[in-house]
Amino acid sequence: MYSGYDAGASQFAGGGFMPSPAPAGDTTGQSPKKFGSQSQTLRAVTVKQLLEGTNNTGDDQYKVDGVELQNITLVGKLVDVKQFETNLTYILDDGTGKVEIKFWLDNDEGDQVQQRLQQYRVGMYVRAHGHVRSFQNQKSVVAFNLRAITDYNEVTYHLLQCVFQHVHLTKGASSGRPPAAAAGPTTAAPAGQPAAASVPATNNNMAGGDGMSNVQRDACALFNSPDANASESGISLEQVIGSLNSKYPVTDIRAAVDFLVNEGHIYTTVDDVHFKSTAF
């Protein structure tokens, strides 16, 4: 559940395609013009959402749910295909409305035109990626990618993703900074800073925002203690178990120590069962 939330949010609020940490500028202020990964979002939308998108600035910057559109993705059925000198124009119908999708052709793409025309025909479902543009008050989409849909569950998925992103942007994030808050609790809680409060600490035991469970965090604290650091060989697994077995099962403690090694928090010293923290 929790990780699903993560991945979905990152696609339109975080770093674009990968759940990457928010850039360093995130905490220092919310300048109106942001560049870099924060602005490169990918929003799943319906045609109706696009049509009702607002544009206050007069240029090609549209907002849906109060957040500027950058890259968008649509899923729908092609109902018309026209070939022009400089572009291919498709009409995509997703059930909520129809939108024109232009695919500009490069000069050296001549051979590929016929291929594209054969590939994307009227009546088939496609996923398009592109930007919203307006011409004579008519919005259209300039596509940079078109892909035929072969698994039709993607139709359901896309429309559910439209709902999810709409809800996330209108209700899910804390006030004032929707995209940053969306990334905050899931991917970008910096060390020492409490996780943002917009997502309540859920019934998993990862309340600290550092991605560790309680047993992992307690074990890590033991290794970070001054005593453990003062010793040349660090502390042994037996000592960790001795300190924590009143709170946790032994198997969980062993697993936590393995986790800390794998994540680079601690390293082995004189043998395989003595460890020191990497924090010093």
């Binding site: 109706k48 059930g95 409305g97 939108v99 009546g123 039709y152």
Partner: protein, 107 residues
């Protein structure tokens, strides 16, 4: 861009709201008798689709674009074959979300 002629995604229960209007119905093909196709909608209700002459209906799941004639009959205008792998339960939830919870995005 044009949203004047939408085709709302429906299950059996929602079909009756659109008599005389266009809908988009996804369901499981149960059988074809002459030009009458029986489709099980996402909420299990049976819908009879008057198919276009000569239109093949070979796949297990199908999406029908058509006009609702009565609470359980639809006149086909177009269709798309959705293959044999389609989760109708998820689709049913989508229909309900689109109509009851977030119509602003869809209708």
């Amino acid at each position: 861009m044009d949203t004047s002629d939408p085709a709302p995604r429906v299950n059996f229960e929602l079909l009756q709201r659109y008599i005389g209007k266009k809908v988009r119905l996804v369901g499981k093909v149960m059988g074809l008798d002459g030009d009458l196709l029986t489709v099980k909608a996402a909420d299990q209700g049976l819908v009879y689709v008057k198919v276009l002459p000569g239109a093949g209906h070979a796949s297990e799941y199908v999406e029908i674009d058509g006009i609702v004639e009565s609470p359980n009959t639809v006149q086909e205008q177009q269709h798309v074959e959705f293959g044999s792998n389609f989760d109708l339960n998820s689709y049913n939830e989508l229909c309900k979300l689109a109509h009851f919870d977030y119509p602003a995005l869809f209708l």
